[in-house]
Structures are given as structure tokens and as C-alpha cells.
């Protein structure tokens, strides 16, 4: 081993994604000396924008910037550090078969009018449905914004928090409380099917809840992931995820965080059951008392720790964390805007092509047999409307999540199969936007195997660990590490593989940092 250098940090954060930066900023604000190490050449993790074709940029691997928790924005003063939020996000166009269209607006009344064109009954149900969600939301947000506690091992303070959540639940009234408990473990198809008869509407609503899961709308438990996703939605960051990353970086730097790129951590050094430092791929050794790993939990626990650091049962439990990537990313450069046939009105910024619940389910089926969906459904964004700097004048970029494509495709991925997937995705979109083919300047398809490699995502999975009931709350990513601490003293998990699950909320980083500070190891 190299001789230790004189550099010493209180805490090293591995990975500079939204959560890594949120953790770093939170620790630095509490006067800790923090170093962020990022393996790739730019900061921001999956939120780092990049040029995918000369003159055309992405807003990050991911594109939905409405999932950043207000808790993080507030706690880290992100608006002061350049974050601009838009309170009413762009409407989503649901594009169904045979030219059917339904636009979901942030405003419930406008949405209701849209729905009424399909079904009067659904328009009425929609009001009641939204009202019920509104009543549930404070409870969901309470869960998202607090460190998860294991009710069976809670200390006095945690019992207090749990009791408060229990009370809030109870205060909903017996009927709402029972309803909430009843629907959480249900499938989206059963839940939404009970409310709405318009398949396009049910599918459009369901789609978000399936992201980062290994489920179809018929899978039980998908309602739970839907709540965790859709009810964490808030104001949208202008400029997309990349803008969120920039603001976080500014906040972190303002508090004295140091960041290094092309600094891949190869080893977390452990002595006597506690973290002593990290070793970089180049061989350099950095001493620190604590490590916050914002990379995936499997990587942190199985690849970065020395093999003997974890007892076999903990290693087994880490090996059982499920993170089967199932989504491909498609970036498209366009010479003009995306125009949907039969859709007038303002420029289209979001399209979802889930025609119906069965289409979602069939797309998922393919994953089980290690195939890419024959008829993928797409979550399409056009970020270049809000941020015209992403493309040359008058030109646009599309950011598309293609559902579903397995990381472990039977026979493996190669360029031919990527081209085939790209073709299928563009065909799907062309069916709704006939002018698309003539406007395509360039495409870049990133399949889950590439996400795993380029972005160092465990299993090529969006959220470092699947979202599922059994990988949620204090069981996320598993029971050993469900509250950010790991079996190794000083090593904490702080990426999206920890609670709150998945989306780029920054809350996992923030809550993990707070847990570290509470444990006085930050």
C-alpha cells in the first residue's frame, strides 16, 4: 500500500450524483471537511448533462426534474444557489392507439375537462380520486422526508416519530386510513381499474409508478411504488436534472466541499471493523473517518469493501439486493420540434405512449424472458423548449426512456440490437408524430448494460436498487443498511439505493448525512 498522504478529510463521498452532492453539502454545512470523489470526468452522476451529438446536449441521463424534494431545496438553500423552479410543470400528452389523445394538466379542472371527452364517469371519479390523494399526500411526504425507522427496533425518539405518523394516519379517519392500508399493497391495474374505465388514462397515470421497478401494472405492490414516485413530485427545476446538479454543486462548494473528477475509488479501507480511508484506482490513499457511498449499495458493499470486511451473512444480504435494469435511454437530436398529429396548442414537452394497461404489462413481460419489448412504450421529454441552449436554433432534443429492455438480454446487447430497439422506439413515436423521421438528425441509444458500465449503475438499474415493497423504507436497500449505516463502522450509504427510494430527490443524501452527523461520524 502507498504511504498515506497528509491529506485527511472528515468524510469522503463516493459519487457526485444528486444524492452524493446533497450529502456532501449537508455534511459541509455542519463544518465537516468533505471530499467528493467522482469516477467519471464530470460531476453530477446521472444528472450530468453531456453532448451526445455535436451541438446537441442532454439534461442528464434522467430527465424528470420534478422529483427533487422541497426539503432538500429548502435545507440547502438551492434557490439561492441558482436553482429556478417552475411551479406548474408542462402538461403530459397521453398518446393512445388510433390517434387518441388525453392531456394531463397540473390543474385538476382542466384535466377533468380532457377526461370528460373520453368518459363522463371518469371525469367525475377523477375529482374524487385527486381529493383522496390529496388527503394521503401529507402522510406519504412525511415518510419520504424522514429517515426510515424499523418499528421493531425504534428508540424512544423514533417511536415518537412513528407515533406521529400513526396518529396522522389515524386522523385521516377510520375509512381513509383503512383505504390507504388496503390499496398500498395492491396492483395499479386493480386500483386504477376500480376508479377509471378509460384505459389510456389509467395507463398514463400508472406509468410513473413503474419506473425503476421490476413490475407491470398487474404486479401487487405497484401502488406503493406509485405513491413513492408520484407523491414526491413537486415544482420542476428549469434546466432539468443538470440544473439541479449545478445548484447542488454550488451549494456544496459554498460550504467548502472539494470535488475531484476522474477519481475512482477502488477500495474502502477498513481496520478493526471501521473505515480508515479510501484508495483510488490510481493507488492514492486518502485517510478519512467516514465514507458516504452514493454509488450503488452492491458496489459499495461487495466491490469496494475488502472481502473480509463483511461477515458472510451481511455479504449474502448485500448480494440479494435486486437491481435488474430494465429501461434504455434514447437521446434524439431533431431539426425541428416534436409535432403530434391532431394535437394543436402549445409545444409538446412531454409525451407518454402507454396505450393501455395491457400494453404496459406486455412491455414488462418481455423482461421476464430476457427480451426487449416488441412494442416498447415511451416516456418522452423535449427539454429543449425550456432550455433552448441544448440544441442549435430551432432544433430540439428528445430524451426518451424506453420500456422495457433488460440488462441481461438473452444473447447479449450489440450495436445491431441497439439499432433495432432504437428503430422500434422511433416507429412507436412516429405513429403519433408523422413528421418525426424527416427531422431526426442523430440518435444515441444507451442500453442498461451501458448504463452499468458508463455510469457505474449496479445492474444498469436507474435507482441503484429496485423499488419494491420489500426494498422500501427500513428495508432499503436491505435490512442491514436500511438506515444508512452499514455493518462497517463509518461506512454509510447515501445514494438512491437508500430511502427515499429512487428518483433524484436528493433526500437520500440529505437524510444519510443527517444520520451520519447524529452518529457523530460525519
Amino acid at each position: 500500500m502507498n504511504a498515506p498522504t497528509r491529506e485527511r478529510f472528515d468524510c469522503v463521498v463516493i459519487g457526485s450524483g444528486i444524492n452524493g452532492l446533497a450529502a456532501a453539502a449537508t455534511l459541509a454545512r455542519a463544518e465537516r471537511r468533505v471530499l467528493v470523489l467522482e469516477a467519471s470526468e464530470q460531476l453530477g452522476g446521472t444528472a450530468a448533462g453531456e453532448e451526445f451529438h455535436p451541438g446537441y446536449r442532454t439534461v442528464g441521463v434522467h430527465h424528470d426534474a420534478a422529483l427533487l424534494r422541497p426539503l432538500v431545496t429548502r435545507s440547502l438553500d438551492l434557490e439561492r444557489h441558482g436553482l429556478v423552479l417552475r411551479r406548474s410543470p408542462a402538461p403530459t400528452v397521453l398518446a393512445g392507439g388510433d390517434g387518441a389523445r388525453l392531456v394531463l394538466h397540473a390543474d385538476a379542472d382542466r384535466t377533468r375537462e380532457e377526461i370528460a371527452a373520453h368518459s363522463r364517469r371518469d371525469a367525475e371519479s377523477y375529482g374524487a380520486w385527486r381529493a383522496q390523494l390529496g388527503r394521503f399526500r401529507p402522510i406519504v411526504e412525511r415518510l419520504l422526508d424522514a429517515p426510515p425507522s424499523d418499528p421493531f427496533e425504534a428508540d424512544f425518539a423514533e417511536l415518537g416519530t412513528l407515533a406521529k405518523t400513526g396518529l396522522a394516519l389515524r386522523l385521516l379517519g377510520g375509512r381513509d386510513m383503512t383505504e390507504f392500508l388496503r390499496i398500498l399493497p395492491m396492483s395499479l391495474a386493480d386500483w386504477l381499474g376500480g376508479w377509471f374505465e378509460t384505459d389510456l388514462l389509467a395507463a398514463g397515470i400508472a406509468a410513473g409508478g413503474l419506473e425503476g421497478t421490476w413490475m407491470g401494472p398487474r404486479s401487487e405492490g405497484s401502488v406503493f411504488t406509485w405513491f413513492a414516485h408520484e407523491q414526491s413530485r413537486g415544482p420542476e427545476a428549469v434546466g432539468g436534472p443538470a440544473a439541479v446538479a449545478r445548484a447542488l454543486l454550488a451549494a456544496a462548494r459554498a460550504s467548502g466541499v472539494e470535488c475531484r473528477t476522474e477519481a475512482e475509488v477502488r477500495r474502502v479501507c477498513v481496520e478493526d471493523g471501521g473505515v480508515r480511508g479510501v484508495e483510488l484506482a490510481g493507488g492514492q490513499h486518502l485517510a478519512c473517518g467516514a465514507v458516504a457511498a452514493a454509488c450503488g449499495p452492491r458496489r459499495a458493499l461487495l466491490d469496494l469493501l475488502p472481502p473480509t470486511a463483511l461477515e458472510p451473512r451481511h455479504a449474502d444480504a448485500a448480494g440479494s439486493i435486486r437491481c435488474r435494469g430494465g429501461i434504455a435511454k434514447l437521446d434524439v437530436a431533431l431539426s425541428g420540434p416534436l409535432e403530434l398529429a391532431g394535437h394543436g396548442g402549445p409545444a409538446v414537452e412531454r409525451v407518454c405512449t402507454a396505450e393501455g394497461l395491457e400494453a404496459l404489462e406486455r412491455a414488462f413481460d418481455a423482461l421476464k424472458y430476457r427480451r426487449a419489448s416488441e412494442r416498447p412504450w415511451l416516456d418522452v421529454r423535449v427539454p429543449s423548449h425550456a432550455d433552448p441552449t441544448l440544441a442549435p436554433d430551432g432544433h430540439h432534443v428528445l430524451s426518451i426512456l424506453v420500456h422495457n429492455a433488460p440488462a441481461d438480454l438473452a444473447g447479449g446487447w450489440d450495436d445491431e440490437r441497439r439499432a433495432e430497439l432504437t428503430g422500434r422506439a422511433l416507429d412507436t413515436l412516429t405513429a403519433h408524430a408523422p413528421t418525426l423521421p424527416e427531422r431526426v438528425v442523430a440518435t444515441r441509444c444507451t442500453t442498461p448494460d451501458q448504463l452499468a458500465e458508463r455510469h457505474r449503475l449496479d445492474g444498469g438499474h436507474l435507482y441503484q436498487a429496485e423499488r419494491a415493497l420489500d426494498q422500501a423504507l427500513f428495508l432499503r436497500p436491505n435490512a442491514d443498511c436500511g438506515r444508512y449505516a452499514t455493518p462497517v463502522g463509518g461506512l454509510f450509504l447515501c445514494g438512491s439505493g437508500s430511502h427515499p427510494p429512487g428518483p433524484a430527490s436528493g433526500a437520500a443524501g440529505l437524510l444519510a448525512a443527517r444520520a451520519m452527523l447524529a452518529a457523530r461520524q460525519g
Binding site: 427496533e153 386510513m177 388496503r182 401487487e220 413481460d365 419494491a468 415493497l469 428495508l475 435490512a479
Partner: protein, 529 residues
């Protein structure tokens, strides 16, 4: 007007009969009304073809609560359970796996596929047993009431929580995983061999419209693991004389306590006056009166069929319309001239005395489900076979055999509509035989008679709405305090004097008996009876 009964029980299924017997033994005047000509509901034996007695629906006894066997003294009333010692799974490639009562023998069999799996198999069984012990008090008592502010109820819930808390953390984690994972994912935590995992995973899907990869199915694994006969966990058995013998023993216990039982007495509706159940009206128009009416049929049939929406809160009716029934299973019963052998393990050996699972891989099972998901019977279904005549010669003529095949998936809501099932019945039977023929050549030509029951038939003949074998799916949103509906999970209904006692109530379906017994206890405790 005849003197009213203390209680009239609608339906002579095993739960109705257990409820009746329990009430009668407490000195109540009880009448059971069964629509069919035989008692037992889905737990019935019938001589469908001369000399051949089929356990027409339910075929193995494993869930029946031992305390019920004791309380009703069923052994004295003729019940004999013949243990099944083996679970056999033949594979299409000529290999096979048999799991035996003898752990050492099982270990050797599994080791042929995976030495690692052979090592953890015992551990898995012990873990499931420990978890069974956690759940047991939940299924042997009324459902907890999380919304109640009554201190006694809170103490009850704390009691359940404390049992969980007392567990070592690793086991508690397993428990929570089991409550939420898919059967396939859950088994992945232990095992690597598909040959082992596939037949183990199927108990997670029995009676559900879910696949082995659907989250929530791991819990059902336990439901089936809890089978205990006379206290022995994971014991499977056949009732001597067929499953109907269980129902007949219960009926005998009921009659011995003075209970009156009428068959071929279909109830047309429950008499409700002034919001209170007063009795029932039979199909012929006969009216019978009772202080309490107890429904032993499924919740949808009870509320929407026999009571009627006009007597019920709109919310409950809506809930019942969305109550998840959607049956997914069928049954094929065969009368055989002789018994063919399995290619993968020749000879009529002890491996055929247990249950045989056609479940060669997780993918096979998942594909079977995918067919059903889109409204078709599985092209290659999961089949669970037992051959009761090997252990119980009384059910077939000498030298001949009966073979019971439980089949999944056969979706009730088949493309074209459930009412098209009669036209699909023969093809469904053929699929089952063709599938089995691949493992057991010569089977088709050995068939003397066959009885094919589709989910449609289960509904028409046995009164199971949508052919659901458990009176409602055993999914988390339909269990415990949510079964059959929030607010009505303790056997009572919005109609005063009307109670429920069958599989659609806590703790759910299967030949378990707990709903019937717990309902009777609740009625007696409530004091109006």
C-alpha cells in the same frame, strides 16, 4: 308459523358445517341448508363414475386446524388422514426430483441438482416453520382491528407486534420479505436450482390470479406451509374416502349435537325486514325463520346475490363488485384402467404416493400465467396430481385407479367471456392430458372416464363466484381486517342478525375450518344468540 331456529346456516360447506356444529354444541337450535344433494361444498367426495370416488374439488388436507379436529372430535366421527410422504416433480428431460418425509433422503435428491441447495433446504424448512408460528395466532383468532381505539384491541395488536419483535432480527427481516416478495424472488434468497424452486414456488400461486414472479405470492407459500395435522408442520394428507370424508365427519359431529341438515335446499334470498335478517326463502318459496342467519357462501354471492343491494350500504356493494375473485384454477379427475409410469422414474413406486407437480421451471410457470393474464388457459399448465387410490383402495375398483389433477391457469374471464367455457371444456381437458402424457406416456389410453371442471363449472355447480376456490383472492388487500371488506371483517354484516362464516372471511380459504369456528365463537360471544 314454525318455531324459529336460533341459527340458519346457508351452505353445507365445511365452514358452514363447522359453524353449525360449534353452535349446536353450545346448545343452539341450528339448521343447515345445502343447495346440492351432497354436503361438503368444495370439500366433497362423489362417486362420479360407478366404482370411482373422486375428491371432486379439494384433494389434500393440510390446513385443517388441529384444534378443530380435537374440539369436534372428528376422529370419533370417522375422520382418518392418510399422510402423503413425497412431493415428486418429473422433468421433461428425463430427470426428476422427489422430496421425502425423510430429510436425509431429500438432501441426497436435491444434491444431485445442487449441493448448495441441499445444504440450505433444511434451514429453509426450519425458518418457514418459525414463521408459521408467528402467523398461527393470527389465523387462529379474529382479525386484528388497527382502526379501533379500544384499549383491549390495541393490546391485541401490540401482542402480535411483540411476537414479531421477540424474533431475532434476521428472522424478522425474512418475515417482512415473505409478506411482500414474489415467491420466485423469495426462493432466490435461498436456492439456485430451478428444478427445486419451481415446484416449491407453486404453493404461492394456488388459487390466485398471480404468477410466481408476482409480488405478494411469497406470503401464500407460508399459508400452505402451515399445513399441520395433529401438530406436525408441513404435513400433507389425504382423507380416507376422499376429501368429502372431512365434511361428513363434521356433519356427523353437528348432527350428534342436534343440528338439523337439509340438502337440496337452495336458499333464494335472505329475508330482511327492518334492516334485520329474519330468516331465508328457499327456491320453492318456503320461508324459514331464525334469530340469526349465517352465510356459508362467498361474500359476493351473500351480499349481492342473497341479501340484495337495497339492504346494504352502497359502499359495501361497490367493494363487493370489485372484490377480487377471478378464479384461475380448474380440475380434471380421471378414472384409470391402470396406472402408467413416469418416464423419468419408472415403476409404480412410493414417489407416486405423494403429490406430483408438473412445474419444471420458474419460466414454465410464469409463461403459464402470462397466457392466463391475457385471457387464455395456459398452453402448458401447472398441474398438481395425486393418485389417492394408491393409498386408499376404497376409492376405485380393484386394480383401477383415480387420479386427481389440479390445474392452473384456467382464467374465469377467458377471452370471449366466461360463458364460453363449456365450449372450451373439452380442449381444456385435452391440454391437461397432453401435458401429462409428456411425462407419463400411455396415460390418455388408460383413461376410462374423465371429469373436467372449468372455473365456470366451479361457479355453476359449487356456487363459487367466478370459480374462485378460496371465495376471494388471498392478497394483502383482502386479508385480515380487510377480508371481505373494511369494517366487516369480523363475521358481522351491515344487516343485523346476518353473519358470515366461510372462506371469504378471516383467515381465508382452503380446507382450514378456522373461519367457521371463529365466526361461531364470535356469535356466541356477542350474546344475541
Amino acid at each position: 308459523m314454525a318455531r324459529p331456529y336460533d341459527a340458519i346456516i346457508i351452505g353445507g360447506g365445511h365452514n358452514g358445517l363447522i359453524c353449525a356444529a360449534t353452535l349446536a354444541r353450545a346448545g343452539r337450535r341450528v339448521l343447515v341448508l345445502e343447495r346440492r344433494h351432497v354436503l361438503g361444498g368444495a370439500a366433497v367426495s362423489e362417486e362420479v363414475f360407478e366404482g370411482f370416488t373422486f375428491s371432486v374439488c379439494s384433494y389434500v388436507v393440510s390446513l385443517l386446524r388441529p384444534w378443530i379436529i380435537r374440539d369436534l372430535d372428528l376422529a370419533r366421527h370417522g375422520l382418518r388422514i392418510l399422510p402423503l410422504d413425497c412431493s415428486f416433480s418429473p422433468l421433461p428431460d428425463g430427470r426428476s426430483l422427489a422430496r421425502w418425509g425423510d430429510p436425509e433422503r431429500t438432501r441426497r435428491e436435491i444434491a444431485a441438482f445442487s449441493p448448495a441447495d441441499a445444504e440450505v433446504y433444511g434451514e429453509y424448512g426450519r425458518t418457514m416453520m418459525q414463521m408459521g408460528r408467528i402467523v398461527k395466532p393470527l389465523i387462529d383468532a379474529p382479525a386484528p382491528r388497527p382502526t379501533s381505539l379500544n384499549p383491549a384491541r390495541l393490546v391485541e395488536i401490540l401482542g402480535h407486534a411483540r411476537r414479531l419483535q421477540a424474533l431475532p432480527r434476521s428472522l424478522r427481516t425474512r418475515f417482512l420479505q415473505m409478506m411482500t416478495m414474489s415467491a420466485a424472488d423469495f426462493l432466490d434468497l435461498w436456492f439456485e436450482s430451478d428444478v427445486l424452486k419451481a415446484p416449491m414456488s407453486v404453493s404461492g400461486i394456488i388459487g390466485t390470479y398471480q404468477g410466481v414472479r408476482s409480488p405478494g405470492t411469497a406470503y401464500v407459500l407460508l399459508h400452505h406451509y402451515m399445513g399441520e395435522i395433529d401438530g406436525a408442520f408441513r404435513a400433507w394428507g389425504l382423507a380416507q374416502g376422499g376429501t368429502g370424508a372431512v365434511s361428513l365427519a363434521i356433519a356427523a359431529a353437528a348432527r350428534a349435537a342436534g343440528c338439523e341438515i337439509r340438502t337440496e335446499a337452495p336458499v333464494e334470498r335472505v329475508l330482511v325486514r327492518g334492516g334485520t335478517a329474519r330468516g331465508v326463502v328457499l327456491a320453492g318459496g318456503e320461508e324459514l325463520y331464525a334469530r340469526t342467519v349465517v352465510s356459508g357462501v362467498d361474500p359476493r354471492l351473500t351480499f349481492l346475490g342473497l341479501v340484495g343491494a337495497e339492504h346494504l350500504p352502497a359502499e359495501l356493494c361497490e367493494r363487493m363488485r370489485h372484490f377480487k375473485l377471478r378464479g384461475s384454477s380448474g380440475k380434471v379427475n380421471l378414472a384409470l384402467d391402470h396406472l402408467p409410469e413416469f418416464t423419468s422414474r419408472p415403476g409404480i413406486g412410493p414417489h407416486m404416493h405423494g403429490d406430483v407437480a408438473i412445474a419444471p421451471s420458474i419460466e414454465y410457470l410464469e409463461r403459464a400465467f402470462d397466457d392466463a393474464k391475457y385471457g387464455e388457459p395456459s398452453r402448458r399448465p401447472y398441474i398438481n396430481v395425486v393418485i389417492p387410490s394408491l393409498s386408499d383402495p376404497s376409492v376405485a375398483p380393484p386394480g383401477k385407479h383415480v387420479m386427481s389433477c389440479f390445474v392452473q391457469y384456467a382464467p374465469y374471464h377467458v377471452n370471449g367471456g366466461a360463458e364460453t367455457w363449456p365450449e372450451r371444456r373439452a380442449a381444456f381437458g385435452d391440454t391437461v392430458l397432453e401435458t401429462l402424457e409428456e411425462y407419463m406416456p400411455g396415460l390418455t389410453s388408460a383413461v376410462l372416464h374423465r371429469q373436467v371442471l372449468t372455473p365456470w363449472d366451479l361457479e355453476q355447480e359449487f356456487g363459487l363466484s367466478e370459480g374462485n376456490i378460496f371465495h376471494g383472492e388471498l392478497s394483502l388487500d383482502q386479508l385480515a381486517f380487510l377480508r371481505p371488506a373494511p369494517g366487516w371483517a369480523h363475521y358481522q354484516t351491515p344487516v343485523a342478525g346476518l353473519w358470515m362464516c366461510a372462506s371469504g372471511t378471516h383467515p381465508g380459504g382452503g380446507l382450514m375450518g378456522a373461519p367457521g369456528a371463529l365466526a361461531a365463537r364470535a356469535m356466541l360471544a356477542e350474546g344475541s344468540l
